[in-house]
């Protein structure tokens, strides 16, 4: 057990856990944000994606000690009012079906837009190919990312948090 401090969604948190515990379970079971999902536990499906210091990271295979003293953003912290360009675009395109994978998809898309404000289809394939959606929302995800990129550009924002 170890005392580990990290900032999650703007709030400083100190947790007393096994430092090897994956960040995913610290976020979900210890701190209590459940928007970040467990899908595979092996970094294969992307459902657990969060940002650590702005970088899209698979929290299910990231020991919490790796996030010590860093800034973690989960889907709950992406925007204060559900008005991130990607969230708006996701709603506009009515992307989700069951929705379980979408937190992870949106977090990866946000990291993509922060780096490449106007991504090509190939950029989207490269970044989003790490995610699985069993409902098959892929074409709407692609459209929503393009839409968010257009909106963010029009708003003069980069689309990051």
């Amino acid at each position: 057990m170890a005392s580990i401090s990290l900032t999650i969604n703007g709030k400083r948190q100190t947790v007393d856990v096994d430092p090897a515990m994956p960040l995913l379970w610290v976020i979900r079971d210890i701190i209590g944000y459940t928007g970040t999902k467990y899908g595979c536990g092996a970094g294969l499906c992307g459902a657990c994606t969060v940002h650590i210091d702005g970088e899209a990271t698979r929290s299910c295979v990231t020991p919490v000690e790796m996030a010590a003293n860093k800034t973690v953003t989960t889907i709950e912290g992406l925007s204060p009012d559900r008005r991130h360009p990607l969230q708006l675009a996701w709603i506009e395109e009515d992307v989700p079906q069951c929705g379980y994978c979408q937190s992870g998809q949106i977090m990866s898309a946000a990291a993509l837009l922060a780096e490449k404000p106007k991504p090509t289809d190939a950029d989207i394939d490269a970044m989003m190919g790490g995610h699985i959606c069993r409902c098959g929302t892929y074409n709407r995800i692609r459209r929503a990312i393009h839409r968010a990129a257009d909106t963010a550009k029009a708003m003069g924002s980069k689309g990051g948090e």
């Binding site: 979900r28 459940t34 294969l44 069951c98 098959g136």
Partner: protein, 698 residues
């Protein structure tokens, strides 16, 4: 509370509520036997309650489970349209399980909308008519001078208006009209319009609550080590190491295995890894995939149970000008919902509360009651959001486990399966071995068709959808259903999901043998199936059938009627020299009868195509030493965004009988792709999944 039950065909019931509003419950009579007899049917199947409060908020209770198929949007749309409700004032409530109040709450068989359509329309229309009557009485006006719009009754001559909220209390005191006028479909304002899912906002900010997200005060976490071999039992176990893992509180044995109880999910997982268990592996310990195929192949050498006999196929085959024979295989496949199985349960004395992502709340309730030996009414089942269902959550196995653990622990318990648990303890689509023969006449038209299916039990899941839709005078379908010790269950689109692959590939083989165009060949044989013929023609037209393609590409077509809907799909593919397959485009034409939400139809068809494509090009569960050989998304791969074809969905305007939409998009995709591969390469795929090594240029 004043309840009036009316002796009417549809048992409409009105309950007036404390004078502030009214509740209208509607009960559906049992409809036609489900196509594939998937659902345990009950005598009455009410789908929702409608209530309007004094503020004008319309609350519609949905008793079916939301797993991404849009049922929490579609069912309320039907009610709200006939009611002329203000959609922005509609609130959705999720019904808990109840033995009788809602009828069957089982959500499957692409049945929710079509089973509810007539009744939900009438329920909305009934409420609307009563609100109009209440307004007319207040105004001393003729009902015929009143109209409704957006949650208001309007008196046209005077321009007076009253909101539904203002009228609710008065309407609750009125008698229920026998036959309220239904809208002319041309006046629908909500039905048929593209509507966003009501749950979309909560799915983009992390606030939607799935089973795995449930939090109950005092809750502990559990993970179960199951027998690696199907049917195995715990012989003995040593938990001393597991109990030393930080966070582990206890280790207990249940019938299904050994459960580790911990203060968080990860500690429960870690505790499991530290368990030492000796298994009595039982009779399936040596089962293998090779043996399963051999068993099925051996069985198929002899005639099986007759499933369909038309004319005399044997005689017709003997006298046919040409005979075509082929053997087709469908593998076991897993559901692999994104949200692994999980359930939270709390047992207090002779009461139990359950929070579950389930397609079958009543089965969960019944089984919990049975396991605990308590009355069904003492079990409350709260239905959460489902992170995918696809038929997996028609099983209540994980609910039973959670209840047993919760009883032993005496505190609320959240049981979470790992991905590996989920992959290795599923109820799989059956593996089937298929011997097909056909006889053609001198002009190449089929005179006989035989299909012998040897598949792993259960029967309906093996043989459903095997009847060819084509006009063939002599048909014989027979089956062998064999228990090979692998659990089998309904998998999205069930029987047709594999049988359309056989039927639609084999008819393509017949067209090739007859040297005829596969679209024209099907078309001519579908004279008696006008709806299927029409979608076939539309898909071909929209896909540009017959028009030249880029070099190296091929088109394939397939069609299927399932769950009351007719669908045809044209796939366009190319195969590289190394055997890698690209699916460029899929064009779909669908006739599912009257449309409720076209956005949902497109999404469900596209989703069914992705689910079916994953199975067609990647997925296979195999058994070695009685165990599932696959465990996670590394060895059970799923199609991803970079492999996604363009999908175009064309909906045929239709006023004919309504079909389902969650599943029908799936059956035609595997054969459409395989037929396109044949068109592009001349290689005929008879075994799924399609492997690059089978497509490599030799």
């Amino acid at each position: 509370m004043n309840t009036t039950t009316l002796n009417r065909r549809d048992f409409m019931k009105v309950v007036s509520m404390a004078g502030t509003g009214f509740v209208l419950g509607f009960y559906l009579p049992t409809k036609e036997q489900e196509l594939l007899a998937l659902e345990p049917m009950e005598a009455f199947a009410p789908n929702a309650f409608l209530s309007i409060d004094a503020t004008g908020t319309v609350t519609i209770t949905v008793a079916k489970s939301e797993m991404g198929q849009g049922v929490r949007t579609a069912l309320p749309m039907i009610v709200a349209d006939e009611l002329d409700a203000d959609w922005s004032k509609v609130k959705i409530d999720q019904a808990p399980a109840h033995p009788t109040k809602y009828g069957s709450q089982s959500t499957g068989g692409s049945a929710s909308v079509r089973r509810s359509w007539d009744m939900l329309r009438k329920a909305g229309a009934t409420a609307r008519d009563m609100l109009v009557t209440a307004a007319a009485q207040q105004w001393n006006a003729e009902k015929s001078a009143c109209s409704t719009e957006n949650g208001m009754v309007i008196h046209k001559p005077s321009g007076k208006k009253l909101s539904y909220g203002e009228l609710a209390a008065a309407a609750a005191k009125l008698p229920v009209p026998e036959n309220p006028p239904l809208k002319d479909p041309k006046d629908f304002k909500i039905i048929g319009k593209p509507m966003n899912q009501v749950d979309t906002p909560s799915r983009v900010d992390g606030s939607a609550v799935y089973g795995i997200d449930v939090k109950v005060p005092g809750m502990v976490y559990a993970s179960i080590e199951h027998s690696p071999v199907f049917g195995g039992k715990v012989a003995s176990f040593d938990a001393s190491k597991a109990k030393k893992i930080a966070g582990v509180k206890d280790v207990i044995q249940i019938d299904e295995g050994v459960a580790v109880i911990a203060t968080n999910t990860w500690s429960a997982f870690k505790g499991r890894e530290a368990l030492s268990i000796k298994w009595d592996e039982g009779p399936n310990a040596n089962q293998s995939q090779a043996n399963i195929w051999k068993t099925l192949e051996e069985a198929a050498k002899k005639p099986g149970t007759e499933e369909l006999k038309v004319g005399d196929a044997a005689t017709a085959l003997n006298s046919a000008a040409k005979k075509v024979e082929a053997v087709y295989y469908a593998p076991f496949v897993a559901h692999a919902t994104m949200e692994p199985m999980n359930c939270t349960a709390h047992v207090r004395g002779n009461e139990c509360e359950i929070w579950a992502p389930t397609q079958t709340p009543q089965q969960a309730q019944n089984q919990a009651a049975r396991v605990l030996g308590i009355p069904v009414e003492n079990v409350k089942v709260n239905v959460t959001m489902l992170g995918g269902g696809f038929g997996r959550r028609l099983q209540a196995d994980y609910v039973v486990e959670a209840v047993k653990v919760a009883k032993a622990v005496g505190a609320p318990v959240k049981l979470v399966w790992t991905r590996e648990d989920d992959m290795q303890h599923d109820f799989y689509r059956p593996a089937t071995y298929n011997v097909m023969t056909a006889g053609l006449d001198n002009d190449g038209w089929p005179v006989a068709w035989t299909h012998r299916i040897a598949g792993t039990k259960e029967k309906g899941l093996v043989t459903g959808g095997s009847t060819p839709p084509y006009a063939i005078p002599n048909v014989l379908i027979d089956s062998h259903i064999i228990d090979v010790g692998v659990p089998i269950g309904a998998w999205r689109s069930v029987g047709p999901s594999q049988n359309a692959f056989m039927v639609e590939s084999f008819i393509d083989e017949l067209a090739a043998a007859a040297k005829k165009d596969p679209f024209e060949y099907r078309r001519r044989l579908l004279e008696n199936k006008p709806r299927l013929k029409r979608v076939l023609e539309l898909a071909a037209e929209k896909a540009g059938w017959g028009k030249p393609l880029q070099a190296g590409r091929g088109r394939g077509i397939a069609c299927c009627e399932s769950f009351g809907s007719n669908i045809a799909e044209v796939a366009e593919v190319s195969v590289a020299n190394d055997g890698s397959l690209t699916i460029h485009r899929v064009v779909v034409a669908v006739d599912c009868g009257p449309v409720v939400n076209p956005k949902t139809i497109e999404a469900q068809i596209e989703g069914a195509i992705v689910y079916g494509l994953s199975a067609a090009i990647k997925d296979e569960i195999t058994i070695e030493k009685g165990r599932v050989a696959q465990g996670n998304f590394n060895d059970y791969q799923i199609m991803r965004i970079n492999e996604m074809p363009k999908v175009e969905v064309h909906i045929v305007p239709s006023t004919e009988s309504q079909g389902g939409i969650g599943e029908p998009g799936l059956p035609p995709i595997a054969p459409a792709v395989c037929n396109a591969i044949f068109a592009a390469t001349g290689k005929r795929i008879r075994k799924l999944p399609i492997r690059a090594e089978d497509l490599k240029k030799s």
